[in-house]
């Protein structure tokens, strides 16, 4: 890559969302806004190698993009006028496009950005399309980068983005952020997209593949931006806290041999203290805003409970049980119940936990979930019921789809006395 190209890239990364959001407010079409902004990038790629990178490259890109938008609006107006001429004579248009565009671009940038977030994460789009469009419009990632991160062909991502933009235009989704109660209502779908991006990077992390941690970083960045845009919503801070704390463990959760390391076995000195600190601050912010406490804030509280313990033994398991109870009330799910059972096992012993786990035995949602027999095996092993424990670990091994996890489970089965 040439110096000019790299400069364009860096400026685009910083400015693109702002430029696209400003243009979208004028042309009322996110897809078109992105194309106009891309035109400016093409112009930069053509001119900067010759003329050198301008002193204020962001402003340069914005100016070119603005001119393209004005051209576009003029053409549109010409068209409208011609139609009007054929119908009922010439109408006097004195609107100043430049002024209109300027006003939109200078307007509250935060508001524009927020509208861009809500448009990219609109429920009218499929979850995959929301993710791709958000990474593209707000993360400034190229189609190729998104494709590599998601391990899918570039054409697939390109199609998703194209279709998403078309859908938004066809369904005439207005370019605006909802307000008041409606914002709180629509926010979960936005947070879901951000968390989905994070999890894609988190669950598949191997420690060697640079692309996946990139997704975690990107999701965190989006979350941090959102936290500033809608700072009055507790769940935004809850999600940011959850992601910061989970990301703090990235280095510790994969062993040198590439195998996953369970949370309680992780080397806590490898946990990223900066991210933990940020996570705890975000959690405080969530609680400071107050009730109601949402699921992200509760999950973050659970993550914080682990983060605050210097060793696995130091974990406040009684607190953990309470938090899982609250989470279970808020978002009832057999998986939450299973996690609560684990916490009960640590707080009150394996016997009490086994009762809870056995109550989940017929849960259809868990019939193929490897962690159910895995947790049960663990409790049985602690109770000295070795043969039963071994059978559970072996069963869990047949259920997991992750090869390294399978090996880990089989090892546990065979290491029992």
């Amino acid at each position: 890559m040439s110096a000019a190209q790299r400069a364009v890239d860096a400026v685009w990364r910083i400015e693109s969302a702002r430029i696209i959001a400003g243009l979208a407010r004028v042309v009322r079409d996110v897809g078109l806004a992105e194309e106009l902004a891309q035109d400016a990038v093409v112009a930069a790629l053509e001119q900067w190698p010759e003329s050198g990178v301008p002193d204020n490259p962001g402003a340069w890109l914005m100016l070119i993009a603005k001119r393209r938008a004005v051209d576009y609006l003029r053409r549109q107006e010409t068209l409208t006028r011609k139609v009007a001429e054929l119908g009922r004579g010439l109408e006097d248009h004195t609107e100043s496009f430049e002024a209109e565009v300027d006003a939109a671009l200078d307007d509250d940038i935060g508001d524009n950005l927020l509208s861009l977030v809500f448009t990219a994460c609109h429920p009218v789009l499929s979850p995959e399309a929301r993710v791709a469009l958000t990474l593209r419009l707000l993360g400034g990632l190229t189609t190729d980068e998104i494709a590599r991160a998601y391990l899918v062909p570039e054409t697939t991502v390109a199609q998703r983005i194209t279709r998403a933009k078309k859908t938004l235009a066809q369904k005439q989704i207005p370019f605006e952020a909802p307000r008041g109660a409606e914002l709180s209502e629509r926010l979960p779908s936005v947070l879901e997209v951000v968390y989905a991006i994070f999890n894609e990077g988190y669950a598949a992390t191997t420690g060697k593949n640079w692309v996946r941690p990139t997704l975690c970083e990107e999701a965190l960045r989006l979350g941090r931006i959102l936290a500033e845009l809608v700072s009055g919503e507790p769940e935004v801070h809850g999600l940011v806290s959850l992601m910061e704390i989970q990301a703090s463990r990235l280095r510790a959760r994969v062993g040198r041999d590439g195998r996953p390391v369970l949370l309680l076995d992780q080397n806590r000195t490898l946990w990223d203290r900066i991210l933990i600190r940020r996570g705890l601050i975000a959690l405080d912010r969530a609680f400071a805003i107050g009730e109601p406490v949402g699921p992200y804030t509760l999950q973050a509280s659970i993550a914080a409970c682990h983060a605050r313990a210097a060793t696995a033994e130091d974990t406040d398991w009684a607190q953990m049980v309470r938090l899982y109870e609250l989470l279970g009330e808020l978002t009832p799910s057999p998986v939450v119940e299973l996690n609560r059972a684990v916490a009960v096992g640590m707080a009150s012993g394996p016997e009490a936990a086994l009762k809870l786990v056995d109550a989940l035995a017929d849960e259809p949602a868990l019939s193929a979930y490897h962690l159910l027999p895995s947790v049960r095996g663990d409790l049985l092993a602690k109770l000295g019921r070795t043969a039963e424990a071994r059978a559970e670990f072996e069963r869990a091994a047949t259920l997991t789809r992750n090869e390294s996890e399978r090996i880990l489970l089989l090892e546990r089965a065979h290491s029992l006395p």
């Binding site: 890239d9 860096a10 910083i14 060697k208 941090r224 040198r256 900066i274 991210l275």
Partner: protein, 142 residues
């Protein structure tokens, strides 16, 4: 990737002269921009070196030298920790820093950008034993 952005000191900073309201104001605004962009992870300003100390080692023996230290421009006045996509992005952000724009002809402000090591980068570079040793050292367990 993460970078550490190092703000070099100067005579004023070393003398403990605090910058004026205008400079502080524009830096606060700049910090806000960094936070809103999700780039800034941490950042702190440092007291003049007169309040600092250096510890040098020779033949396993530690010698403590109290500040102030000479060569103000080689000292550090503050730092940021940023999360960026590339070194170019970091450079682009630094170029937007107010201090870099308010310099006069006889005044040089210097900002240094250094990439922070990630654990994975050691893979294949040094032996697993050394990596282990490094991890132990960092954690203070050795």
């Amino acid at each position: 990737m993460r970078v550490m952005v190092i703000i070099k000191s100067d005579e004023n900073a070393e003398a403990g002269v605090l910058p004026g309201d205008e400079v502080v104001g524009s830096m606060i605004k700049y910090n806000e921009e960094l936070i809103k962009a999700g780039v800034m992870l941490a950042g702190e300003g440092l007291h003049p070196s007169v309040k600092g100390a250096r510890v040098t080692f020779k033949a396993g023996k530690a010698t403590v030298v109290d500040g102030p230290f000479a060569e103000a421009k080689e000292l550090i006045a503050g730092f940021w920790l940023w999360q960026v996509k590339s070194m170019d992005e970091a450079v682009e952000w630094v170029k937007r820093m107010p201090a870099s724009q308010g310099t006069s002809d006889d005044q040089v402000a210097e900002i240094e950008i250094r990439q922070v090591f990630e654990n994975e980068e050691f893979d294949g570079q040094i032996s697993p034993e050394l990596q282990e040793q490094d991890a132990r050292q960092r954690s203070g367990l050795q």
